[in-house]
């Protein structure tokens, strides 16, 4: 009774194709910021800003999250994704093609490109959500991760539907209220999908890899529900003009986001590995950026002077899209990828490298330091586009380092597998 059962685990290449592509988009986002800093810092409504936002949100964030879910569902909630090899292949291709089309559309390729991007992304993400939704519906986990992931999936569906409607509007196929839909699309994507997903995964990986106590169950169950309720109230209030309802929704959203960040920081403060783990610093950077994003968004919502409106919108974007989620994603990748390498090599018998031997500490440390400096410069970009451009270049550098770190993990995997192959032949279905 020693071998691990991996029957439900997807092959290693299924999540890794997403993980390997994401740093390319991340570096691209940094370069785009460097080249178009003046336009991006001036307004959240410029086409260049929309292009940059979607390079980060689709090319980097959703890329990693979509790949991670394929791997995490069997491990975290005990339910495999059906037809996972085919789904990984098709959804990876569709997500990248759709993102390229959308970014080209924003950068001036023409209205038809919005419709094409919308169709590709809708078809891809509908197929992805169908398979992942089936897995979540079949799952039998009893903890708070499963409801959080189910809410995240529902929110991704809402985000995709709103995005497709916007693509039809921008493609001049259907007349839609663009501004209101943009607000709803962004809120459901960032708070409904991304934050619920991060929370659901954090309930597993923070205690597991950072050796903290667990999230208290009542808190862990309440947070995703509060985010869903807040989004529901806010979504009903904004387009219908019910300002008090929208205000309650916004307050619930802000409180739930702060509660998640504060609870996680509190748990990390009592970690047995306190101060020694670079990925914990990724989490601290991400959570502090999340709190800053809530602060700037709250000031915007509560009524800032008109002159501060554009700068605060820019800062909210920097802290959430360039700061919080990329840092949290790196923190997770630096644990999940070594864990997967160990897990898949362990299948072959003894001799698998330990998790901390797969990537090591210096590489992740270089990324988190570069990323933190990038966020500081990007935030300072509110005063000078030159600083924002420098921040973009550093952000690109940090994602190049992330890509190199993941390449190191793959190299360790290949070398160890080659060594083991001399002792034992490959089992069927090996990656």
């Amino acid at each position: 009774m020693t071998a691990l059962a991996l029957d439900e685990s997807p092959p290693l290449h299924a999540p890794l194709r997403f993980f390997a592509t994401a740093p390319v988009w991340g570096a691209g986002a940094g370069l785009l910021m460097t080249l178009r800093a003046e336009l991006v810092t001036a307004s959240r409504w410029s086409p260049e800003t929309f292009a940059l936002v979607h390079v980060l949100a689709l090319g980097f964030m959703l890329q990693v999250m979509a790949g991670a879910l394929l791997q995490l569902l069997p491990v975290a909630v005990g339910s495999a994704v059906p037809r996972v090899r085919l789904l990984a292949l098709v959804s990876h291709a569709g997500l990248n093609a759709g993102t390229l089309l959308l970014v080209a559309a924003f950068l001036g390729a023409g209205p038809t490109w919005f419709a094409a991007a919308g169709a590709v992304l809708l078809a891809t993400l509908a197929a992805y959500l169908g398979a992942v939704g089936l897995s979540l519906a079949r799952a039998r986990a009893i903890g708070p991760t499963l409801p959080a992931l189910r809410i995240a999936a529902v929110a991704l569906g809402a985000t995709v539907a709103l995005g497709f409607t916007l693509a039809l509007g921008l493609g001049q196929i259907w007349s839609v209220p663009i501004v209101e839909l943009v607000h709803l699309h962004a809120a459901w994507g960032l708070l409904g999908f991304a934050l619920c997903l991060v929370a659901g995964v954090a309930y597993v990986v923070v205690p597991m890899f950072q050796l903290t106590p667990a999230y208290p169950v009542p808190v862990a169950r309440a947070l995703p529900l509060a985010l869903l309720a807040g989004l529901g109230l806010w979504s009903a209030g904004v387009p219908l003009g019910f300002r008090p309802v929208a205000a309650v929704g916004a307050a619930v959203l802000a409180t739930a986001t702060v509660a998640f960040a504060a609870q996680t920081l509190l748990l990390q403060a009592s970690s047995k590995r306190r101060g020694r783990d670079t990925t914990a610093w990724c989490w601290r950077l991400g959570l502090c950026c999340l709190l800053l994003a809530v602060a700037s968004a709250s000031w915007l919502y509560l009524g800032c002077p008109p002159a501060l409106r554009a700068p605060l919108e820019y800062l909210t974007g920097v802290f959430s899209l360039a700061g919080a989620f990329p840092a949290l994603i790196s923190g997770m990748l630096y644990k999940i990828v070594p864990f997967l390498v160990w897990l898949h090599l362990s299948r072959r018998g003894p001799g698998a490298p330990l998790m901390h031997q797969v990537i090591g500490e210096p590489g992740p440390r270089a990324e988190v330091v570069t990323h933190a400096a990038a966020v500081v410069l990007l935030a300072a970009g509110v005063a000078s586009p030159l600083l924002a451009a420098s921040g973009g270049a550093l952000f690109a550098a940090s994602k190049v380092v992330l890509g190199l770190n993941l390449a190191v993990a793959m190299s360790v995997y290949r070398d160890a597998r080659a060594g083991m192959r001399e002792v034992r032949p490959d089992p069927p279905g090996s990656p």
């Binding site: 059962a5 205690p207 050796l211 106590p213 862990a220 362990s346 998790m355």
Partner: protein, 73 residues
């Protein structure tokens, strides 16, 4: 029925799995092993199902999963 406990909370993977598997190998017939973790161990469930063990899991308010394992008939 007597019981043994493996507390895997606060241990870095794969140590909890390794200790649980070692404890199960040494578990006398009729005895129960209780595993304490901060997550539900689905990869371990797959091993237990394959090898004829029965298990039941409860979640406590502090986030501890209490997994009771014994050899099935």
């Amino acid at each position: 029925m007597t019981g043994r406990v493996v507390d895997g909370r606060g241990l870095m993977p794969p140590e909890p799995m390794r200790r649980a598997l070692a404890a199960l190998t040494a578990l006398p017939p009729g005895e129960e092993l209780t595993l304490l973790l901060y997550r539900e161990p689905f990869p371990l469930y797959a091993v237990l199902d394959r090898d004829g063990y029965v298990h039941a899991t409860e979640l406590e308010r502090d986030g501890t999963y209490r997994i009771r394992i014994r050899l099935g008939r």
